[in-house]
């Protein structure tokens, strides 16, 4: 399977853990009941997942670290609500996504809000992802989308949430989420095709 295939598969992962999650359930229950050692193990387990969520949603590294800290508190605070019916990683990702989106909307410092929108109010160094075949940066194309489409794309393709989860996380009906994703993909395709046809060459540098 090539890298592209892996990326596609990862982007649609929902719950691939076959185990019944008994160990995770016990850990979450202990952490939620105030066992500090269990809570520490729980947080260590959650950090890589929460960090990926915060980095995917918030481009600015410093802001994403802030969001990581706040999301970890929310995840640990919610530990007792984990029922073990789904994978632990998946549950953490969902709780963290909700926390990071809320933080990002409040601070208006994320990929959720366009980089252009921030440019006038903040002096942060936004990372740009330049790719060999892509005429402009990844962030540039995301920035071209309306906010609700951008959020749906990040949740779906960067974090692998299901359509139903995105609907829940964004307070939108499922058909609306489907429509946003469809329109976003069409628009991205159009923009990329346009730039390729125009022979646009990457000019920005990774920062």
């Amino acid at each position: 399977m090539n890298a592209l295939a892996i990326a596609y598969r990862e982007s649609s992962v929902t719950d691939s853990r076959p185990s019944p999650h008994q160990d995770d359930l016990a850990l979450a229950a202990a952490a939620g009941s105030g066992d500090s050692a269990a809570a520490e193990r729980f947080v260590r387990r959650a950090i890589p997942i929460v960090r990926r969520v915060s980095r995917a949603i918030i481009a600015d590294r410093t802001e994403s670290e802030d969001a990581l800290q706040l999301a970890l508190i929310e995840v640990l605070s919610a530990a007792r609500t984990y029922r073990g019916t789904g994978a632990f990683d998946h549950w953490v990702r969902k709780v963290a996504s909700r926390a990071v989106i809320r933080h990002a909307r409040k601070t208006r410092s994320s990929r959720i809000h366009s980089i252009e929108e921030q440019a006038d109010t903040r002096h942060t160094s936004m990372s740009t992802t330049m790719l060999e075949s892509l005429p402009r940066s990844l962030e540039h194309y995301l920035d071209e989308l309306p906010e609700n489409q951008r959020v749906a794309m990040l949740l779906r393709h960067a974090l692998g949430h299901t359509i139903a989860e995105i609907a829940e996380l964004t307070d939108a009906p499922v058909p609306t989420v489907l429509s946003r994703i469809k329109k976003a993909r069409q628009e991205l395709r159009r923009l990329i095709q346009r730039d390729v046809n125009l022979g646009v060459k990457p000019v920005a540098r990774t920062s």
């Binding site: 090539n2 890298a3 592209l4 295939a5 990326a7 596609y8 990862e10 982007s11 649609s12 009941s33 105030g34 500090s36 809570a39 520490e40 947080v43 260590r44 950090i47 890589p48 990926r52 980095r55 995917a56 949603i57 802030d66 990581l68 800290q69 706040l70 970890l72 508190i73 929310e74 640990l76 605070s77 933080h103 409040k106 601070t107 208006r108 929108e117 440019a119 006038d120 109010t121 903040r122 992802t129 790719l131 060999e132 075949s133 892509l134 990844l138 071209e144 990040l154 393709h157 960067a158 359509i163 994703i181 469809k182 991205l188 395709r189 095709q193 390729v196 046809n197 125009l198 000019v203």
Partner: protein, 445 residues
């Protein structure tokens, strides 16, 4: 493979990838095709690379520590998180999970949480006759163990003997500090003299939202209003935000530290519980407030109090008189005439109307560059930059002018690094431009 077959395959690949994104069921054959497809055209390669990069967004970068390697570096964060949450659980302390103002947020979490945990530990240490942990043990930290400046790991230490002292008895349980003033949360806010207020600045008196959205914060509560909105902020207790006019959202989170009072059209709203409400304020007497979620206590001018719940609306929209908008050519003509007459602000107003009412017309796109120039001329590089960048994104015959204008706007904003980057990009894109010599000279300085 001939071109037709390649085109057919790419079309199929796009259709299947769209279907997978929408969670449509794929056959095994389609799935195999999708996962093993190698795009041939430049556009398809770019598209595939885009989605592959999107799927790995947030992953560790090459050269960066992998999750397994980060364990020691994570320790302060782990300890601080655990201490904070457990302290909140044990003592029912109102855990403020919202970030403090950005000014202090950078270094907040680890030492801040540790200090909070240490304060809780201090309280526990002097109150052992009343407090026990969930497993029935004596509290695990003694006064002497407290290290306010560093994360504490004393939870795992043997339970010490109670160390009550006369001085320590007076130590109060930790409480999050209630806010005492309003501050600039984000966006563009102007004071009574029209000067721009810096982010996180303490603010009181008359405030107006500038050209963009502007947010005022009070503790964890925020009021974000659109351009042109006006507030009056009173620091006298209870601290009150009076919305004079404008449209926006007022929100109080789940866990609220400090109660913000909001006055809209003579009604007083007490933001003491989770609530989100939309407000459209026409004047000091007329407004429409819609509760989106949660609930809020509202007291009217007669002193009558009631609770507004999610979905409820108070007041109503002002009856809008029909506005006759001139056609696009007329607006453009007026803008150009004002510009020729030297009335830059009138020109901006006409250009903005053109963009607002006819955003999709080619002439609206063409108006972006002269509009941005006018903003630069009146000393407003922020909106100028925004319009130049919008034109650059859309593309057009004036792209070189737009790039040139963008550099000048960045210069006016004092964003040197971005300006340098923009000049380099400009020279790469337009090496023989009339502006190139000037920019090369500026780079060589």
């Amino acid at each position: 493979m001939n071109n037709n077959a390649a085109d057919f395959d790419e079309a199929r690949w796009r259709r299947l990838s769209d279907a997978e994104a929408s969670e449509e069921q794929l056959s095994d054959t389609d799935r195999d095709f999708l996962y093993n497809f190698s795009p041939r055209s430049d556009a398809a390669k770019a598209e595939a690379q885009f989605f592959a990069a999107l799927a790995s967004l947030g992953d560790s970068q090459p050269g960066e520590a992998q999750p397994g390697d980060e364990e020691p570096a994570n320790s302060p964060l782990v300890h601080a998180t655990v201490q904070h949450v457990l302290a909140a659980q044990r003592n029912e302390v109102v855990a403020d999970i919202s970030p403090p103002p950005a000014k202090t947020r950078r270094r907040w979490a680890v030492p801040g949480l540790a200090a909070a945990a240490a304060a809780v530990a201090l309280w526990l240490g002097v109150s052992t006759d009343q407090a026990t942990t969930s497993d029935g043990q004596a509290p695990a930290m003694a006064v002497n163990d407290v290290e306010p400046a560093a994360p504490s790991t004393a939870d795992q230490a043997p339970a010490p003997a109670p160390t009550t002292t006369a001085a320590a008895v007076d130590v109060a349980p930790p409480q999050p500090a209630a806010p005492t003033h309003f501050s600039v949360e984000s966006g563009s806010l102007l004071d009574a003299s029209g000067a721009t207020l810096q982010a996180n600045a303490i603010v009181s008196g008359s405030v107006q939202v500038g050209e963009q959205l502007g947010c005022v914060g009070f503790g964890d509560s925020t009021a974000c209003f659109e351009s042109g909105a006006r507030f009056e902020l009173s620091d006298d207790s209870p601290q009150t935000l009076v919305v004079v006019e404008g449209r926006g959202v007022i929100e109080s989170p789940e866990i609220t530290v400090g109660v913000m009072q909001v006055e809209i059209a003579g009604d007083h709203y007490t933001m003491s519980s989770p609530v989100k409400m939309h407000a459209t304020v026409h004047s000091r007497k007329a407004a429409k407030v819609e509760i989106v979620s949660g609930q809020v206590e509202v007291r009217d001018a007669d002193g009558q109090t009631r609770t507004l719940k999610a979905g409820e609306i108070r007041g109503r929209d002002k009856v809008q008189r029909p506005v006759v908008v001139p056609d696009a050519k007329t607006l453009l003509g007026r803008a150009q005439a004002s510009s020729s007459a030297g009335d830059r602000r009138a020109a901006i107003s006409h250009y903005e109307k053109l963009l607002r009412h006819y955003p999709d017309l080619p002439m609206s796109k063409a108006a972006l560059v002269p509009l941005a120039e006018k903003y630069l001329e009146i000393g407003k590089p922020g909106p100028a930059l925004r319009h130049f960048e919008r034109y650059i994104r859309l593309g057009g015959v004036a792209a070189q002018e737009a790039h040139n204008g963008r550099i000048r706007a960045l210069d006016a904003l004092g964003r040197k690094a971005k300006k340098q980057e923009a000049i380099e990009a400009f020279l790469e894109r337009y090496p023989s431009s009339p502006y190139a010599a000037k920019y090369r000279a500026s780079l060589s300085k």
